[in-house]
Symmetry: C2
Subunit: 412 residues, 2 copies
């Protein structure tokens, strides 16, 4: 008998009929002899509706009240799922964040889980009950509701799994697992059997939005095995877990892309200490996340700084950078919204050389110009003209033979 | 400086714009130097939507989970109202039932308030904050959410007013106050300036649905003055309060009617001890509320029993009564759905004779046949053919000169 935590996202509980499907799957897992804790998100569209009400009400909603508002969505889905399980003859009980309780810090809308008291849940499990937990929410030490940010239910599920030392945390979503790249872009994209936490972190931050990035950090910290799988079929999905020897043999695990960034270059910046801080501090104060930053060697005491920001913050960033550039005496600011970031990711590249150069030559072979390059231990990212995104992803997927992984697996 | 509790129903907070209106009214009361606690219901239609989801999910939703579901509606309205007040520059803080906490018994969907811990609220009021409280909900001693039944926010407001010894509990609704009868039926129905708790209880139970009946009982028990008024204008409404000398001088305060009942007669019942119990116990076990019961003197050891039940339970009741009648050897069961109950209410009738006979002769004068009569200290109710309802209400309103009360008041 195992302890299984299952998490279902908004799409999986989007209607009464879909909640019934979820209940059947939960019941089956229970009938197989497992203890089951289910973590659910709000019904699809509900959180957006609530956010819409807040924005209609005022420009800058109070953060505490905003969290009270948006946390109501999960209250609906946990009660519906619990009553459905009960009507099927199972013992089931719903838990809101404060009823467990899940304690968080007080950073409303981006709260971090600090502690989970598992006494109530353990008692229910012992008595044969299925436990249904509201994702996305907790309370701070003063009893205020705090939410974990978009996708926070993933983190709730992993945190509950960590607190109760669950055998597995199954994250149900509308895809079969993690793919070598976006299947809508590359038809022979294949499902990855298992992937390391670090690779998943790079995949997630690069726009493969299957798991909230923080949930992966959490899983890594507490060594929780995540099984990403579809709520619409019974296929084995992808295991996100500690790196093992197998993973090393795969040079590149996946190709990610991100078309939601824009590039800003500040030209002929005086290359003196403190310049980078003067440029980036005002951006961080405006809550704009800077992704890639490139600074080349300087000529005649002047250098060029190029960086990318989320496209939604582009106009705001450009205005701020324009002012900073003036202040520090840069020559001018140029920018480009029509860019994309394409990345190859794999823990295998740590122990193999030539991966990056293979990426560059593959892109060059198709006439795709590389505008910026950034590398980490387990990934290489290139900024290119966004009209080449699909082409770049496809040729890289072929070059690293990702389309054949599935076949190899089936051969075993 | 007074402590004012204000309660706004679903219609008053039905849209973002209406919530803004409520916020302006709350702010004005605060600006006049009062401490303000606001109790709100769910936005109009929300509770119905949630109930609809539960019914779609299963036939008999688990009671605990049902309460978790429907309590989410108030969470939306309190947070929106609080953020609106804050955006207007006021300190405001929302409270869910568990955050105060409001303790109730465990009778889900019809829970009764047992205790309100006022420490948190008092602290907020002292610091100059407006306190926004979710109506309709509390928690039991085990931390389960429990709701107070339809209209329960009225009771929440009165209970909070009682716990904090508020100077007044203002119940805002979509009418100007309590009227001598239904203004849609009688055009010269007039607003009552003040009415006793007992009269209000009779009015409410007879279908004048302005206040949840339990809130009036609560107010009576703790001597809370309720001010029923409109959220759409500044008119003085109706005070529901302890009986005073003025009220005695008015013979009849109002005419109520109820068209939602049906009549069942069991004929030639053996008039032996225990017969009434045998007839009515099965109905109460089926949760059917019996309203009027008439048993006449018996002839030859046989009597007739007539009683009324809610029209929605009529078919179910008829089936149950049929079986019981068989068992006790009654001759037959006859029934009639086309009835209405018309009542005159007034504490003044305790000290004046001839009120009932005036009612009977007024109805007789219009050719309205009286099928059943029931009386209490402060009301007389008659069951009549429902097609005469409007006529009966109108002539009684005239006969007791209720249309002139307003004029007299204005003359003073």
């Amino acid at each position: 008998m195992a302890l299984v935590v299952q998490k279902y996202g908004g799409t999986s509980v989007g209607t009464v009929e879909k909640i019934r499907n979820v209940a059947r799957r939960v019941a089956r897992t229970y009938d197989e002899g497992n203890d089951v804790i289910v973590v659910v998100s709000a019904m699809a569209g509900e959180t957006d509706k609530l956010v819409g009400l807040a924005n209609e009400m005022c420009e800058f909603p109070n953060e505490r009240e905003y969290d009270v508002l948006v946390a109501s969505g999960e209250q609906v889905s946990i009660s519906l799922l619990s009553m459905c399980l009960q009507s099927m003859g199972y013992k089931a009980k719903s838990y809101l964040g404060w009823q467990i309780p899940i304690y968080t810090d007080s950073a409303h809308s981006t709260a971090r889980i600090k502690e989970i008291r598992d006494g109530n849940i353990r008692e229910d499990l012992r008595s044969g009950s299925i436990v249904v937990v509201a994702g996305f929410q907790g309370i701070d030490q003063d009893g205020n509701i705090a939410t974990l940010g978009r996708g926070g239910s993933d983190t709730s599920a992993v945190a509950v799994a960590a607190a109760l030392k669950a055998d597995v945390c199954e994250i149900y979503t509308d895809v079969d697992g993690i793919y070598t790249t976006d299947p809508r872009m590359v038809s022979d994209a294949t499902k990855v059997e298992k992937i390391s936490y670090d690779e998943m972190l790079e995949m997630a931050s690069l726009g493969a939005k299957v798991l909230q990035i923080r949930s992966v950090e959490f899983a890594k910290k507490y060594d929780v095995v995540i099984h990403v799988r579809s709520s619409f079929n019974d296929n084995q999905g992808t295991l996100v877990m500690k790196e093992d020897a197998d993973m090393e043999t795969v040079l590149v695990s996946g190709i990610a892309y991100n078309k939601n960034e824009a590039k800003i270059s500040v030209l002929k910046v005086p290359d003196t200490p403190g310049i980078a801080a003067e440029l980036f501090s005002p951006l961080s104060e405006a809550n704009i996340t800077v992704d890639m930053i490139i600074q080349n060697v300087s000529h005649d005491g002047l250098t060029d700084m190029t960086f990318t920001v989320p496209r939604t913050d582009f106009k705001k960033a450009l205005k701020i950078v324009g002012e900073s550039a003036n202040k520090i005496g840069a020559e001018k600011v140029i920018s480009n919204e029509a860019i994309a970031k394409v990345s190859i990711i794999g823990v295998g590249m740590r122990s193999h050389s030539g991966i990056a150069s293979k990426m560059f030559s593959t892109l060059a072979g198709e006439g795709v110009n590389i505008q910026m390059i950034s590398t980490s231990e387990i990934k290489v990212s290139c900024i290119i003209d966004d009209k080449y995104t699909e082409l770049a992803v496809r040729v890289l997927h072929d070059a690293f033979e990702l389309g054949q992984i599935e076949v190899k697996e089936e051969d075993i």
